[in-house]
Symmetry: none
Subunit: 196 residues, 4 copies
Amino acid sequence: MTAGRRELTKSQNRQAILVAARQVFADLGFGAATVRDIIRATPLASGTFYNYFKSKEEVYQAIRDEVALTIVPRLQEERANAATAEEFLAASFGAFFEFVVAQQGEVRSDRPEASRLRLDTPEVVAGFGALRADLESAIARGLFPNIDPHFLSAAMAGVAFEISEQMLRRGCGAAPARDFATALFLGGIKALAPPG
Amino acid sequence: MTAGRRELTKSQNRQAILVAARQVFADLGFGAATVRDIIRATPLASGTFYNYFKSKEEVYQAIRDEVALTIVPRLQEERANAATAEEFLAASFGAFFEFVVAQQGEVRSDRPEASRLRLDTPEVVAGFGALRADLESAIARGLFPNIDPHFLSAAMAGVAFEISEQMLRRGCGAAPARDFATALFLGGIKALAPPG
Amino acid sequence: MTAGRRELTKSQNRQAILVAARQVFADLGFGAATVRDIIRATPLASGTFYNYFKSKEEVYQAIRDEVALTIVPRLQEERANAATAEEFLAASFGAFFEFVVAQQGEVRSDRPEASRLRLDTPEVVAGFGALRADLESAIARGLFPNIDPHFLSAAMAGVAFEISEQMLRRGCGAAPARDFATALFLGGIKALAPPG
Amino acid sequence: MTAGRRELTKSQNRQAILVAARQVFADLGFGAATVRDIIRATPLASGTFYNYFKSKEEVYQAIRDEVALTIVPRLQEERANAATAEEFLAASFGAFFEFVVAQQGEVRSDRPEASRLRLDTPEVVAGFGALRADLESAIARGLFPNIDPHFLSAAMAGVAFEISEQMLRRGCGAAPARDFATALFLGGIKALAPPG
DNA sequence: GATGAATGAGAATTCATTCAT
DNA sequence: TATGAATGAATTCTCATTCAT
């Protein structure tokens, strides 16, 4: 029982560090974030950090791994099951925007670069690693015309990043953002024109 | 004449710092970049940095100002003269990709986050400040349908960032990148399908 | 118990810094003293200084506060209880010279200005802040004739500083210094003439 | 003629540095004063400083020498000619207070230690070097009773320093200060009581 | 000589990491 | 294991001094 309690606490501490690190990386980026920033956002003491992670790099990697193991597979499955380009796009953008909303990336920094969403964030790096592969497979299945998959996945990633920032600023939900991005990729600005 | 030589050297040193700072910011981002990194990328001594700039923030601002004073006005003019959405898009994307090519953003860092183009870079922040205003004006002129300009400019920025990274990796020129992005915004994936 | 030991060590380190700072300020004065000088006079590492004080100014202030809270009240009480001018003077000078002896201000520097007692020392600034007020009160009680209290307190301070330096050089105790200063203020050079 | 002009300029520059250095030393003390502070208080360029003085120490020494060669001899002569203790004291204090007034030591610093007159100033160090010797001679001549000359000269120096600060704050001339100090040394607080 | 930019040693400060408790 | 103070290397910045013009 004591062991159980301990295990629980251990797990909770590790989780607390991961949550704090996500917030701090989103806020400051990997480069500017310090271990102190992370631990300050936690009820723990500085030394405790090193009971769970060897370094800042390791937390970064751990977040990346976590995302890669939980969110990415779900997303890959949805994409694999997509019957149309629209489903593929809506699933991809929808998952990303919902993830961003869930993270509640409250940007509060006053640094000059903080005016835009941080890309040097573990989730983001992990999250889009699989996109191109999925896109290639979708092209092979005939969901998409034969477009350069590097450029297309890059464009999707860019739209996702920037639109998500707008979404947070505006406080709107994930749905409008998803619909906008999906329509843009399906039909360009014509498809975005208001009906009528 | 003596003064002339001195002025020249002075100007050259300032320029050397600016060039080095651009490279370092592109490499590491604002947060992770250090003044030492900048000065190390220069033949100058450490103290010399402070003859020209008070801090890292100040170089950042100086680059931003320079970009805002040189590139942005040209871009704004081209956009103002655009007769069609295609011209507007091609001018915007073309200018950005050519700028990126000119900067030769040789990504060489080994830090985990460096795998993607840095957005917290002075040029980028400055460069897209004016886009939304130009877009609103273009919508008013009837070049674009009545699309949410926040979302649309965000999408353009995102595509520009990410495509430019691909462009650099692939070593292709600015033209293919510009054409891809323009076509995407004009007609979506259908417009991107290879002819035939 | 664990906490007790830690607290002790913490307190000891803070004390070590304060002691070293006193010595360094006495040696070099506030202006020339560096944080490095202080920490070098200590077995601690450079970063440890900043666990206790934010800056040189803050140690200075801390010493001043300490003096103001311990020595000054005792001195004020003795002065308030003085029944004669002689008691007032002897208490003031006696306290100061004893304080200086206790500090063991071993002047050892080789800088040109170090040949005289440093006045820009936190103890000294704090110590004489209250003198004039006490003097005014003593004049009101009739202990002193109606002398300009600004000049009189200034003169007392000056004599205290300079005599204390002589005292240290000569290695004599506080008593002769106190007697000399008291006699000087009571009756001038006549009162200082050796008996007979 | 050209040579004459140059000589003049040379002399003027040297003088400008000396004047500026006096002010800066009085303001900040030797330790905190920087060569930049001195040169900033001058119309000259930084490099020019080193055409006249090898270092900060050397200006300090130069001021000391100048004082020792001009003011001290006059003072020594006056003291040697003094027929009474009062003349000796009045000459000593009078000379010092007039010197301080002439220097116009406008204290304007905001540093914690700046609230009192700087003693680590070349003039002060030089000026009181000769006092004790003169005092010993005066005792030998019978002007003063047989008082410990170390203590007595220290007391005179201290009173001179501190009273001069009061004098400057109050904006009164040198005469009241001289009279106060002289009376104090002649007869103590009794001699300072207002007549009647 | 005069100038003022360049230099680089050194001072102030931060921060990842260690370690005694 | 948790703690948080200590550590010292790395960073930012200052300043005496040099040197090309």
